[in-house]
Symmetry: C2
Subunit: 336 residues, 2 copies
DNA sequence: TTGAAAGCGGTACCAG
DNA sequence: CTGGTACCGCTTTCAA
């Protein structure tokens, strides 16, 4: 008949067990200085009252949230979802709850991030979701921040996936195919990754003795934006032979644009992506695979260590990526 | 020079402004009973000390977390990611932080959920992530729960995507193609949705006067499991003409299996999926589109209303789904 | 218009 | 081994 609306408090447990709240706390937190008989009585009271310590009281007293956060632009693409998954998995293992915050298209991202900062012991910030000054503010109040897929700032640990080597591999492969006229689809100003990819792409082209591409065909990250931008480019008389896209979703859009214009891929136009999201495989898209889960997982581990007080040197690492050759970049001997 | 390690407290602000903490609290929370001059002084002190109220103190005093949670099996598939996205978007709009919890393959999901319950004002539970008894426990301590993609339990609001009508449409379409021998790929015991789909599929077949399918080809939800299970089935002499799959990922696996066995789709074998994840489009997979974002968004709204104290009647709704015909189910006149 | 003080629900130190 | 009690940082009466 215990139709308790309000959860029981430690005081009620103490009363029920005939001990002080201090003893209840000890009994529950595995202190070894509690008589076995007492502990037993407490445990019984706990069971009867269905007592569960209030997280708020606990956190307030302990001075920690036992939670951390992750900030990303958007969960709609498969990319961030994978990163968040890798993050959550490790965070959970380490005993932290995880709060998520998406900033894309939301008002006042800075305020939202500062708000998040009051709820967590640390956070991961992905890409260019908030201004550097905000990150500085967060770290200043003692909340460790790990940066992901964006340039380092301050003394935050920073983790990136390689864009340079993979751009080199990609361009090298395309050059072997003999292509000459390259275009880049995506907005370098839109994300640090795309920026890095574009620069590395240009450098690789130069290194291969190819003509510089014209200015990037700027577009948003989604399929539809990619489709529109690609359609414009492919309609031009001197269309590029190759469209290197800043991410897979724009590349998928480009594939659609090609189809609409009755251009076959890779015969009439070559298209490549970046990230290797699930759909890329089924679209036969040549792309660069990122270790998305591992990015999230590593960030979670680093963050935990900082929260735990690790004062070691700042970490800056770049995880390796892998060129995935499929059919969209040309015909190959071996099977897809 | 304010190199404050520890964040300022309301006491320091009060001291600095020469008022009591009560006044600081009022000034900050827009009480109209604070003299303008006083408020100004307080605000200055706040700025100087970079004061931000502690979420814990605030929540403890207010008796609410201003946060809610969402429990899902796994974020790896695109499906849940979309649902979570829709959820987070609305929750953020409504001023709640969101905590995520993935249970798949984790030890003690019940404990994790109870733990989550202590950090939120309410939660959404998707699919069969935890036992019904756990859900009962959560609601019993006064935490509203909204159920998603699973059967109702207790008096929780419950939201589902339609499986019956879409199964009917799907089977109807396949029957029009003239197919006779149907198989089902997926484990009805693995998720409420797959269960419902299988049952609806059978019922629709019966209604269409087709032979009952043999027992479902059970497999997990990922591509690889689908591939293996499908390969087994397709190698049998009397292989099914049609493989209706419980979700898109297993269907994608089935497509691979067919390819490996040199069976062409849809000529040699027809394959359909469920969910319409992004990859389905590029794989040419006939499937059923679910309003994933809207599922999440609606759940978030319902939850918020319950948290706010809405005591209206229990809600049970089913959102409509849509048959998406692509190439994997047969040749059609119109374009894909 | 403001301040004092009583919670909110725990943890942990200090005595006993 | 146990109890008393001082926090943790805020909101909200109740009085003045």
């Amino acid at each position: 008949m215990s139709n308790n609306r309000q959860p029981a408090t430690i005081y009620q447990v103490a009363a029920q067990a005939g001990v002080s709240i201090a003893t209840v706390s000890r009994a529950l937190n595995g202190s070894d200085t509690v008589a076995e008989s007492t502990r037993k009585r407490v445990l019984i009271a706990v069971k009867e009252l269905k007592f569960r310590p209030s997280r708020l009281g606990q956190s307030l007293a302990e001075g920690r949230h036992a939670a951390n956060g992750i900030v990303f632009p958007d969960l709609s693409g498969p990319y961030y979802a994978e990163v968040v998954l890798g993050y959550e998995e490790v965070a959970a293992e380490l005993g932290s709850s995880v709060l998520i915050l998406s900033t894309h298209g939301r008002p006042d991202p800075a305020g939202k991030v500062m708000d998040l900062a009051r709820r967590v012991d640390g956070m991961v910030v992905i890409s260019r979701t908030v201004a550097d000054t905000v990150i500085a503010q967060v770290t200043e109040i003692g909340i460790p921040v790990v940066l992901l897929a964006r340039p380092a700032v301050g003394s935050c640990d920073t983790l990136n996936a390689d864009n340079v080597d993979s751009a080199h591999d990609l361009v090298g492969h395309l050059v072997e195919h003999g292509y000459e006229r390259f275009g880049f689809l995506g907005d370098p100003a839109g994300s640090p990754d795309v920026h890095a990819r574009y620069e590395a792409f240009r450098a690789a082209l130069r290194a291969a003795g190819r003509r510089s591409p014209r200015a990037p065909l700027r577009c948003d990250f989604d399929v539809e934006s990619g489709r529109r931008a690609a359609a414009r480019a492919l309609r031009r008389p001197a269309r590029p032979e190759v469209l290197v896209c800043g991410n897979d979703e724009t590349a998928l859009g480009a594939l659609e644009a090609a189809k609409e214009l009755d251009l076959s891929v890779p015969e009439d136009v070559v298209i490549t992506g970046w990230d290797d999201v699930m759909a890329a495989r089924y679209a036969g898209l040549t792309t660069v695979r990122q270790p998305m889960r591992e990015l999230g997982a590593t960030a979670a581990r680093w963050l935990q260590e900082r929260i735990a007080g690790n004062a070691g040197p700042v970490r800056r690492e770049t995880l390796a990526t892998q060129l995935i050759v499929r059919s969209s970049c040309g015909v190959h001997d071996h099977k897809t």
